[in-house]
């Protein structure tokens, strides 16, 4: 028993180091003096908070409206989370709960469409948004994220499948309408899955840079992912430590959120996997 446990602990510790190391490296880099991520020392020889200050400072030589990127990202992520979650729940609910003509075909369609690599539709989306005059607006981004939300409905459907029908039937005998059954019986039971979906849609919008880069054209409207990407994606870009500082501020809230809600993550993923 003893040696096996010891070995297990050693293995766990090793994995833990592997998990934390890159994160720690980023954090330490963000306090490093100079511009380069590369360094001989794991722990910086000289520490500075300048990179964090630079993110929020007006600079003559480079405009990095980090605060407005942060605010934009919050708006986009929150709005797409609410809209996307609602759409996904409605889709999943109707597919899980009702037996109607064309249902199987619909499921198949959703399944297949969900597999189309999203960025291939960028050009068409760009032109559509341009036509309805929504290009370069963060709400267009919300629209695009939410429009595709229905395609991720299988996890939620799997969850709804597990809610016994007898509950609804009892309510229906009492004369409840479809809508009130959904609102009063199904939703309260679905807290874990709602949390899970909200979390993943929020995180999805928080980190996406492919669509955001195509749709948002002016720096003031950018989201964090686009802005940070732009800091290092230029032929004469040199501010890698600034990038690291920006990344830390992006990653910390979302990481904490995941940690805090990991119970729901477990529930949601399990529901989606075993039943979906």
């Amino acid at each position: 028993m003893k040696p096996r446990l010891l070995f297990s602990y050693a293995l766990l510790a090793l994995i833990a180091v592997a998990c934390i190391y890159p994160a720690l490296w980023t954090v330490l880099s963000s306090f490093r003096v100079g511009n380069s991520l590369f360094s001989d020392h794991f722990i910086p020889t000289a520490w500075t908070l300048d990179h964090y200050r630079d993110l929020f400072r007006e600079r003559a030589d480079r405009s990095i409206p980090y605060a407005s990127w942060y605010w934009n990202t919050l708006k986009v992520a929150t709005a797409s989370m609410m809209l996307g979650t609602l759409i996904q729940l409605l889709t999943a609910y109707s597919i899980s709960r009702f037996r109607f003509k064309g249902r199987k075909a619909m499921m198949m369609l959703i399944l297949i469409l969900g597999m189309f690599p999203g960025f291939l539709s960028i050009m068409a989306v760009f032109i559509i948004l341009n036509t309805i005059d929504l290009l370069d607006s963060i709400w267009a981004l919300v629209l695009v994220y939410s429009a595709g939300a229905a395609l991720g409905m299988f996890v939620a459907k799997g969850f709804f499948d597990t809610i016994p029908r007898s509950l609804e039937e009892a309510a229906r005998i009492d004369g409840a309408s479809h809508m009130s059954i959904f609102m009063r019986i199904i939703l309260p039971l679905s807290r874990p899955i709602i949390t899970y979906i909200s979390l993943t849609t929020f995180a999805g919008a928080w980190v996406d840079f492919i669509f955001a880069r195509a749709i948002l054209r002016t720096p003031e409207n950018w989201t964090l992912a686009v802005g940070l990407w732009n800091i290092i994606d230029s032929y004469n870009s040199t501010e890698f430590t600034l990038f690291a500082a920006g990344c830390v501020l992006v990653a910390v809230p979302i990481t904490l959120l995941f940690m805090y809600t990991q119970r729901f993550l477990v529930d949601g993923l399990t529901a989606g996997a075993s039943k979906g």
């Binding site: 592997a18 559509i128 597990t162 990407w229 940690m259 996997a273």
Partner: protein
């Protein structure tokens, strides 16, 4: 009275809404007539040029005219815009035809019911799901289906740099010439076959490693006698929680052969280190290993969730029989976990075929190679598509490849999903 249904039907054929009026559904009838009129007007007046446009794709591109000393821009036909408007117009026409057909059906159904004198039952439970689905469907129609149709159409044109880039140049329909090029022109076909093979190898390896890695880690934590389970789990979730564009770009720096810290540690122990991202073989190993770093937490969470659902009495019964720990693991835990998580393998497999982030951010498809056209050694089909469209503007080839990719994924997914419980046994769960 006998031909009531037929009469109503024919009236609605002549003009939507007439049948409904005949059936004494006045509000419905009037609104149908309005929609019908609006639709006919829109098609005749507004949509015809767009419908024509998708056929011709324009006659005269943008050009400059010299007036005196200055050149003036004369905007011409933009083939790609015309194509999208054409697709939108076709959608409108199709929806109008759907409305027209439903209108006739409605007139007949209502008429028949009036005929038999039965009550006008509210068809609530078959309509309600469609009502719920209508909003998501509109979104999907505009932002998923329309773009897919558009992309597919591009494959049949010559839309590519340098000679056919609007607005100055027109794009033309070329039939299957693009596919011909993709399969028969060595430069393209070699790349396609090479990238496709690596995509499949990658998808299989990435899926299997993450899946079994996740099971392993979950079991490791869940062993009897291991303490602080919650803390271990929390630590192992970190890679999943950090945004990928952050962690992968960092990884890229960590793995630099000469200057990256990983190899510096190797050297500290007197070893040479590995050409992580420089050598075609090791670069492939690296992306799979890094993908494990990102993917294992998800599988781990999953398996840990499933472990808690294994009925305790199974183990108790086994204890009564005096089973060893290993026997319990082999005969209860493992089969249970495998059975419960099998469907996720399919999703992960498809996800990995389309795993854009890992490759794009970690290697960018490199190491570069002369073997391929516009692709590197670790490029997957998706990242190659990205380069083809955004870097090299070879839109038609990219569209052709994406059609093939899409067909492949769809076929595989349908075959596999047909066998899962989600489709076949879902009503048995309750």
């Amino acid at each position: 009275m006998k031909h009531r249904a037929a009469t109503a039907g024919w009236l609605s054929v002549i003009c939507a809404g007439l049948g409904q009026l005949y059936n004494r559904q006045y509000v419905k009838g009037l609104s149908f007539i309005l929609v019908y009129a609006a639709g006919i007007y829109a098609i005749a007046a507004k949509l015809t040029p767009h419908l024509k446009g998708i056929v011709t794709l324009g006659e005269q591109g943008q050009h400059l005219v010299k007036v005196g000393k200055v050149y003036k821009n004369v905007p011409g036909d933009h083939s790609i815009f015309m194509m999208i408007y054409g697709v939108l117009a076709i959608l409108v026409v199709l929806l109008f035809l759907l409305f027209y057909a439903l209108n006739i059906r409605d007139a007949v159904v209502v008429g028949r019911r009036k005929q038999s004198g039965s009550e006008l039952r509210v068809l609530n439970s078959s309509v309600f799901p469609w009502l719920l689905l209508s909003v998501p469907m509109i979104g999907v129609l505009f932002f998923t289906i329309m773009p897919i149709v558009f992309t597919s159409l591009i494959a049949f044109t010559n839309y590519a740099s340098p000679n056919h880039i609007p607005p100055k140049n027109l794009v033309d329909w070329v039939g299957f010439a693009t596919f011909d090029k993709l399969f028969n022109m060595n430069v393209w076909s070699n790349t396609f076959v090479g990238v496709l093979s690596w995509t499949i190898v990658w998808a299989i390896l990435a899926t299997v490693t993450c899946y079994f890695g996740g099971i392993l880690v979950a079991l490791l934590i869940n062993q009897q006698g291991i303490r602080f389970k919650g803390i271990w789990r929390m630590l192992f979730i970190i890679p999943y929680a950090i945004p990928q564009f952050v962690s992968l770009l960092i990884m890229k720096n960590l793995l630099n052969e000469k200057f990256g810290p990983i190899n510096q540690y190797f050297r500290y122990f007197g070893m040479e280190g590995l050409p992580w991202l420089n050598d075609p073989f090791w670069a492939k190993v690296s992306v799979i290993v890094v993908n494990m770093w990102i993917g294992i937490p998800v599988s781990m969470i999953l398996v840990m969730g499933i472990l808690t659902t294994i009925p305790k009495d199974l183990y108790e019964a086994a204890d009564v029989d005096g089973a060893t720990a290993w026997a319990k693991f082999r005969n209860i835990t493992m089969p249970y976990v495998l059975f419960a998580t099998a469907p996720i393998l399919i999703t992960q497999f498809v996800g990995n075929i389309n795993n854009f982030n890992v490759i794009f951010l970690l290697t960018g498809g490199n190491p570069a190679t002369m073997k391929y056209n516009n692709a590197g050694e670790t490029d997957l089909l998706v990242t190659w598509l990205y380069k083809l469209t955004l870097d090299f503007n070879q839109y038609n080839i990219a569209a052709a490849v994406s059609i093939l990719l899409f067909l492949f994924i769809a076929a595989a997914a349908i075959v596999m999903f047909r066998r899962t419980r989600s489709f076949n046994e879902e009503d048995m769960i309750q």
